[in-house]
C-alpha cells in the first residue's frame, strides 16, 4: 500500500511539473488572448440584425476551443520527453528512485492535466460568451461535450507522448496534428469510402478505419450549438471505453519504447 502511495506521489510530482511549465510559459494566456481578438468583433456587433446570432458566435468559439486544445495538447505532450533528453535532465531524473513506467505515466498525466486545465478555462470563457450574447444551451449537452473533449485530449496526449519516443519532435507534431485533423474532418466517412472501393483498395481503407483513432467520436460541437439532444448513455460509455482502451494501448507501447530507449 505504501509502495502504491509512493508511486502515486512520484507520478503526481512529475505531472505537476508539466502543469507548472504550461502556465509559466504563458501558452494558455496567449491562446485566450488570440481567442479574444478573434471573437470580440463578433461579440460587439450584429451586422445584419440576425436573430439567434449567438449560435454563430458559439460555433466559432467552439471551433477555436478545439483548435487551441489540439495546439496546446500536442505542444505540451510532444515536448515532455524531448525536453528531458535535450536538456539532459533525464539523467538526474533516472538516477532518482523512480521507475521508468512512473516517469512515463507522470509525463502523460502532466500533459493531460495541463491541457485539461486549459480546456476548463476555455469552456468557462465559452459559456460566458454565450451568456453575453443571450444564447441558451442545454447544460447536459455542454457537460457531455466537455467530458468528450477531455477524452479526446487524453487520447491526443497519449498519442503525442508515444510519438515523441519514436519520432523527431517536428515529425511527431506533424503526424499527430494530421491524424487529429484528418480524423476529425474525414473519420466518419472512412467506412463509407471503404465500402465503395474495390476489394484490393478497400483492405487498406478498412485497416485505417479499424486502427486509426476515431477522434470524431468526441466532437459534440453541433449538438451544443444546435440544441440537439445529448448522446445516449450507452453510446457515451462505449466512446469512453474506446478512448480508455486506445490510450492504454498507446501507453503500453510507449512504456516498451521508453524501457528500450538508448540512453
Amino acid at each position: 500500500m505504501n509502495g502504491m502511495r509512493g508511486s502515486l506521489q512520484r507520478i503526481m510530482a512529475l505531472a505537476r511539473l508539466a502543469v507548472v511549465d504550461l502556465f509559466r510559459r504563458r501558452d494558455v494566456s496567449v491562446a485566450l488572448l488570440l481567442a479574444a481578438v478573434a471573437l470580440l468583433p463578433l461579440l460587439a456587433f450584429n451586422f445584419f440584425g440576425v436573430s439567434g446570432v449567438w449560435r454563430y458566435v458559439g460555433e466559432v468559439t467552439l471551433l477555436l476551443v478545439w483548435i487551441f486544445s489540439i495546439a496546446i495538447g500536442l505542444g505540451v505532450a510532444a515536448r515532455q520527453f524531448p525536453a528531458e533528453f535535450d536538456s539532459r535532465t533525464i539523467y538526474p531524473l533516472l538516477s532518482k528512485p523512480v521507475r521508468r513506467t512512473e516517469i512515463l505515466l507522470g509525463k502523460f498525466l502532466g500533459a493531460f492535466l495541463a491541457t485539461a486545465s486549459a480546456l476548463c478555462l476555455f469552456y468557462v470563457c465559452f459559456l460566458l460568451l454565450l451568456l453575453l450574447k443571450g444564447g441558451g444551451v442545454d447544460p447536459v449537452v455542454v457537460a457531455q461535450a466537455f467530458l468528450f473533449h477531455l477524452l479526446f485530449v487524453m487520447l491526443l496526449t497519449a498519442m503525442a507522448v508515444t510519438g515523441s519516443l519514436i519520432l523527431t519532435p517536428s515529425a511527431n507534431l506533424t503526424v499527430c496534428a494530421l491524424a487529429a485533423a484528418g480524423m476529425l474532418l474525414f473519420g466518419e466517412r472512412l467506412a463509407g469510402l471503404a465500402a465503395g472501393l474495390p476489394l484490393a483498395s478497400a483492405i487498406p481503407a478498412w485497416a485505417v478505419h479499424a486502427l486509426a483513432p476515431h477522434m470524431e467520436f468526441f466532437d459534440l460541437r453541433l449538438r451544443v450549438v444546435h440544441g440537439w439532444p445529448p448522446v445516449e448513455w450507452p453510446a457515451s460509455l462505449a466512446v469512453a471505453a474506446y478512448a480508455l482502451c486506445y490510450t492504454a494501448a498507446l501507453l503500453l507501447l510507449a512504456d516498451r519504447l521508453f524501457k528500450r530507449k538508448k540512453l
Binding site: 512520484r10 510530482a13 507548472v20 510559459r25 535532465t89 533516472l94 523512480v98 538508448k262
Partner: protein, 242 residues
C-alpha cells in the same frame, strides 16, 4: 563490503565496432573518495551509467551498495550529478529541490529544511527563488550538486563535477567532498582535472579503451616513477597503448 563492485563487465553497444567496456573489474570501498580518470571515449560515462542502473551490462555484474542498481531502492541511496544538465528553467532552485525531494519520497518539511541547508552549502542561498533559466553555468552546477545531496545519499557519483566552476566554487566543491568523506560517505567522480583529483582522492583508477590500466592510491599508481598525476596518467595511457 564495497560501495561499488564491478566484475568482468563488458558493454557492447549495437553497431559499435569494439566494446565500450571490455572485461572491467573495479571495486570502490565504502567511505573513500575515488577518482575515475581516463581520456575521452575511454568508457567513464558508460561505467557511471551502469552504476546508476540506466542499462545493464552485456556481460558481467554490477553491484552498488550491495544491491542491484536497477532497483529503485538501491538508487534511493545514490546521489548523482551529471556533467551537464540544464535543469528546468521555469522552476526556481527551491522548486527544483522540492521536485527531486518528492521523487525521493521526502516529507515536505524535510525538503524545506534540507533545501535551505544545501543552498547555503553551495552558495546559492540568495538565489533560491530565482528562475533557473537566469542561472549561469556555474550556478547550474551548484544547483546540480544540491540536488545530488538532497536525500542524504550514501554514495555520491559526480560526472566531471568541476566543469564550468570558477576557482571559488572549485574550492567549495572540494570542501564539500572532504566533508562527505569525514561523514563516511563514498564519493565516486570522473574527471579530466588531474590536479583536483590528486588533491582530494584516496584512490584513483585510470581507464583506457574500456579497460582499467591501473587502480590504487596515488603513490601506489605512481610506482617507481616520480612526478605529478599528469605524468603518471600519461605514462599509464602510453603503456596501455604500447
Amino acid at each position: 563490503m564495497d560501495a561499488v563492485r564491478i566484475e568482468s563487465v563488458t558493454k557492447l553497444y549495437a553497431g559499435a565496432g569494439r566494446p565500450a567496456l571490455d572485461g572491467l573489474d573495479l571495486a570502490v570501498q565504502r567511505g573513500e573518495v575515488f577518482g575515475f580518470l581516463g581520456p575521452n571515449g575511454a568508457g567513464k560515462t558508460t561505467t557511471i551509467k551502469m552504476i546508476l542502473g540506466f542499462f545493464a551490462p552485456t556481460s558481467g555484474s554490477v553491484r552498488v551498495l550491495d544491491g542491484d542498481p536497477q532497483d529503485p531502492a538501491t538508487r534511493r541511496r545514490i546521489g548523482y550529478m551529471p556533467e551537464v544538465a540544464n535543469y528546468y528553467g521555469y522552476l526556481s532552485a527551491c522548486e527544483l529541490l522540492a521536485f527531486y525531494g518528492r521523487l525521493c519520497g521526502m516529507a515536505p518539511e524535510a525538503i524545506r529544511r534540507r533545501s535551505g541547508e544545501l543552498l547555503e552549502l553551495v552558495g546559492l542561498q540568495d538565489a533560491g527563488k530565482k528562475p533557473l533559466r537566469l542561472f549561469s553555468k556555474g550556478m547550474m552546477q551548484r544547483a546540480g550538486i544540491a540536488q545530488a545531496l538532497l536525500h542524504d545519499p550514501e554514495l555520491l557519483i559526480l560526472d566531471e563535477p568541476l566543469t564550468g566552476l570558477d576557482p571559488l566554487a572549485r574550492i567549495q566543491l572540494r570542501d564539500i567532498i572532504v566533508m562527505l568523506r569525514k561523514q563516511g560517505r563514498t564519493v565516486f567522480f570522473s574527471s579530466h582535472e588531474l590536479s583536483e583529483a590528486e588533491l582530494i582522492c584516496d584512490r584513483i583508477g585510470i581507464l583506457k579503451d574500456g579497460r582499467l590500466c591501473c587502480c590504487g592510491g596515488i603513490a601506489e599508481v605512481a610506482g617507481d616513477g616520480a612526478g605529478n598525476l599528469e605524468r603518471i596518467f600519461l605514462r599509464h595511457i602510453q603503456e596501455a597503448k604500447g
